[in-house]
Symmetry: C2
Subunit: 218 residues, 2 copies
């Protein structure tokens, strides 16, 4: 496997899209694919695809194209999908419950093992087989189960406090759904999942369209 430290962030952001498409191609029993065909399916230019995939080693076979299975396996490994990372969710409001229902964790190398909230009216309820636990027990739970990752789905004004609790308990990565910027030490990995980004993009596209501007240049 290539050294992941050399893969630029913007390529990493495209990797899940490659992963999804390659998986689909594999389920169709396709063995090889050219960058041109992949370009048509994915909407990226074929030169971008060739540049991206060159980071992961040599998968091309002259006149055949890329070996889909090899590429799929390598990307899965780079994305850490073959590992088994313990994960918890902090905040069992509607968003936390929606996250508890997410079916994609196992396939992506995560095992969801806990759901926490501070609201006594919510503690004890069960969602997707997980009983909501009191957030006071989160530090002990994290240490005992060597939990690596926490999804943060609390109200914005509780975000930093909850993040501090997670960090002090030894969590390594935070998947942050709050709208507030939170501070974490350098050794903690923070990924902000700003749901409103998509809404802004939609807004701008509608604006472009109402201006009767062609989108072909995008």
């Amino acid at each position: 496997m290539p050294d992941t430290k050399d893969i630029p962030d913007k390529i990493i952001q495209r990797l899940p899209h490659y992963y999804v498409q390659l998986k689909k191609l594999l389920s169709d029993d396709t063995e090889y694919i050219s960058s041109e065909k992949l370009s048509k399916i994915m909407g990226y230019s074929s030169s971008l695809i060739r540049r991206d995939l060159s980071h992961f080693g040599s998968f091309g076979k002259k006149s055949y194209g890329y070996d889909i299975n090899c590429l799929y396996e390598t990307i899965s490994k780079i994305l850490g999908f073959s590992s088994n990372k313990k994960m918890i969710i902090i905040g069992a409001g509607f968003l936390g419950r929606a996250l508890a229902n997410n079916k994609s964790y196992k396939e992506r190398g995560y095992e969801l093992i806990g759901l926490f909230d501070k609201d006594p009216a919510i503690i004890g309820l069960e969602f997707n087989g997980l009983q909501v636990m009191d957030i006071e027990f989160a530090p002990g739970f994290i240490k005992q189960n060597q939990v690596e990752v926490a999804a943060l789905a609390v109200p914005s004004d509780e975000a930093q406090k909850a993040a501090n609790l997670l960090i002090n308990s030894g969590i390594k990565g935070i998947w942050d759904f709050t709208e507030t910027p939170i501070s974490v030490p350098d050794d903690i990995i923070l990924v902000e999942q700003n749901m409103n980004d998509g809404l802004c993009k939609l807004s701008c596209r509608l604006m472009q369209k109402s201006n009767e501007c062609s989108e072909q240049n995008e």
Copy 2:
């Protein structure tokens, strides 16, 4: 205002981040900021910031930096935040309810006016002041209220059917939270909000870290 058709997609994706930071600076009564200072706050390089902002006109003032208020207003307009677009949510499961609770719509130029589901056990319940309506009434509601945008928060296997219903009713843009790729005609704007992207990114970063690789090059 600059012609929005000329703004590349990758810049549009960064606009919400500029928007949030500029808003924060304004609330601190800051009037001007240099690209270097903005770079420190946002984590983008100052040359990238200068290149990005040059797309929106001239806001710089020698030895002062950028006029924050002007820049903020322009970016708000480009993002369509000064408009008033009617919006509905299809699917009132946990994710749909979390979306109904989102407090950012008004500020971003959206007015959430409807929440729909097909489940009789959910229809009639109220979330954030919105009573869940039967999805059968969605087409009439969309036409009558000139709804422009719909958030799609239904199970994956119902995604295409729901999208078709929306499109046939005259919706212009779909904010898609399902995991399944859906097909829409060219004149419909589709923005996929893949929640698992962040999880993949987190996974890859953890992998990089466990390989004891420096992330400084990213």
